[in-house]
């Protein structure tokens, strides 16, 4: 059976050239980068080369990049690191209601330890309101964390504009750019951010490796205590093959980004238009234009997301949903609810995220199969009354 992967926002396949770059560092290049001998120095050289590639992709300097074990770790590091470094200056943090769990749960943890957190609401398209950011800032505010683009609905936030608000104050600005780095141009000076979270596996790098960009001069406490690796900011022997693969993925992304972005946008728009034309009672979630090139998120009213996913999977199509039924805690997506959508809309949501192997044929296949699935499920649905608008 044909298998079509449309869940690139969850993870991507490792690029063959990335894998090729990684392999020698499992075998010949096994040395510990902290060792003085040639084995160690070779590995260290490979890490520093990768660091430069990561830095280059986002317009940073090598010594502003700290390698981490994931995007989640980068988020934890940024938020806890700044909170603990600046708690004497104030205990107020501002973030949004639509952040990834890696940010939200970290903020909730800090709330239990005496910090105050404001979770900014978003509009129906998922955009943060600049006025709300201004209003939320107090003398106690030490950190603002707003994601660059949302992983579920694809909305791209006005990071530059938010940074302008924080610029004249002693407030640290973090952005979770896990969904944008490698896909869209990200330049730390243009965005005027102090901290940026990155994850390799979202753009054809390996899993279990990420980075935190830390602007020079940013007050932050180390994430792990131990050896002097990563300038003492993140102790533990580095994941050399992973980091080398991460560097290679950055280099490839830099070469291919422009073309790939346009190609995906065309496919994305074809898919969105096709679905809206072929199926009634459907709406797009997230911003219509200010959205990730590869993200399609729709609500197919009167049908439940998990049962859509199962049917798609039976036809070889892999996707995801924000339905409570498919969540391990049986809670609907906090992102979709934050848009002000009713529970049923979150329940009926379907995310199709495209990537480097997606072709126009794949899009056509989905456009052929999805209406059949929705029809079948609607005939079973007590909510669907045909003919009613």
């Amino acid at each position: 059976m044909r298998r079509i992967y449309l869940d690139y926002a969850a993870t991507t396949p490792t690029h063959p050239l990335v894998l090729k770059a990684m392999l020698p560092w499992f075998t010949d290049g096994f040395g510990n980068p902290s060792s003085i001998h040639s084995f160690g120095q070779e590995a260290n050289g490979a890490i520093e080369e990768a660091r430069e590639k990561v830095a280059q992709l986002i317009g940073a300097k090598g010594n502003e990049i700290v390698f981490t074990g994931s995007g989640t770790e980068a988020d934890n590091f940024a938020i806890k690191g700044v909170a603990y470094a600046k708690e004497h200056e104030g205990k107020h943090i501002i973030t949004t209601a639509i952040e990834h769990h890696a940010v939200i749960e970290t903020c909730k943890f800090l709330e239990k330890r005496g910090f105050n957190v404001t979770y900014l609401s978003v509009d129906r398209d998922g955009l943060v309101d600049l006025g709300e950011v201004k209003k939320a800032i107090t003398d106690e505010t030490i950190l603002i964390s707003v994601m660059h683009a949302n992983n579920e609905i694809g909305t791209i936030e006005p990071i530059q504009e938010i940074a302008r608000i924080t610029k004249d104050r002693e407030i640290c600005f973090h952005t979770d750019a896990v969904q944008t780095v490698g896909h869209l141009p990200v330049d730390v000076d243009e965005l005027k951010v102090d901290l940026v979270s990155i994850s390799a596996h979202k753009f054809c790098g390996p899993k279990g490796v990420g980075a935190l960009y830390i602007r020079k001069g940013t007050k932050i406490v180390p994430f792990m205590h131990g050896g002097e690796q990563e300038h003492g900011r993140r102790a533990s022997t580095q994941n050399v093959p992973g980091i080398v693969g991460f560097g290679k993925a950055c280099q490839l992304a830099q070469q291919e980004m422009g073309q790939e972005k346009e190609r995906l946008e065309t496919l994305r728009d074809k898919l969105i238009k096709g679905i809206l034309n072929r199926i009634d009672h459907v709406h797009l979630n997230g911003h219509p234009t200010q959205r990730l090139p590869n993200n399609v998120n729709i609500s197919l009213e009167f049908v439940e997301g998990e049962s859509i996913l199962l049917n798609l999977d039976l036809m070889g199509i892999a996707a995801s949903t924000g339905s409570a039924c498919s969540s391990s805690v049986l809670e609907a997506s906090h992102v979709l609810l934050a848009l002000g959508l009713p529970h049923e809309s979150a329940h009926s949501s379907l995310r199709l995220s495209l990537g480097q192997e997606t072709t126009e044929k794949d899009v056509d296949y989905v456009l052929e199969k999805l209406p059949q699935i929705v029809n079948k499920l609607r005939t079973m649905s007590p909510l669907y009354k045909p003919g009613k608008k």
Binding site: E304, E306, S307, L310, S323, A324, C325, L330, M380, P382
Partner: protein, 135 residues
């Protein structure tokens, strides 16, 4: 790489079979009892209709807005009640429905509880209606 061919790692083959080919889907014209329930856990909705002659359930139908387990249990419960007396049907537990489907993942047991509840409500509705007729 080892690949599970279908979704058997999530659901049993029987669940998937009922999910793909659900029995007794649809509304019923002039049913003798209707059970309508909403799931407080995840917000799903199930409607179950029964037709009764001489204390025996001769037909059952359903409509469900819910996950794969919810659809499969609706299908199975409508199959199980057909031909049963009211008394026998009242004894069908959600566990029995889940067992008839070769089991459900623990997190999906609440979906089968919904099917049991819809059945009970449909029977209660039938009993209340027939009582009213007698009076």
């Amino acid at each position: 790489m080892k690949r599970t061919k279908d979704l058997r790692s999530l659901y049993s083959e029987k669940v998937m079979e009922h999910f793909q080919n659900p029995r007794n889907v649809g509304e019923m014209e002039s049913p003798d009892g209707i059970g309508h329930v909403g799931n407080p856990v995840c917000g799903d909705i199930m409607e179950l209709y029964i037709k009764v002659r001489d204390d025996i359930i001769i037909d059952a139908k359903f409509k469900t807005f819910g996950c794969g387990a919810a659809i499969a249990t609706s299908s199975m419960v409508t199959e199980m009640v057909k031909g049963k007396t009211i008394e026998q049907a009242l004894k069908i537990s959600n566990k029995a429905v889940a067992e008839a489907l070769d089991g459900l993942p623990p997190i999906k047991m609440h979906c089968s509880a919904l099917a049991e509840e819809a059945l009970k409500l449909a029977i209660e509705d039938y009993l209340a209606k027939s009582k009213r007729k007698e009076e």
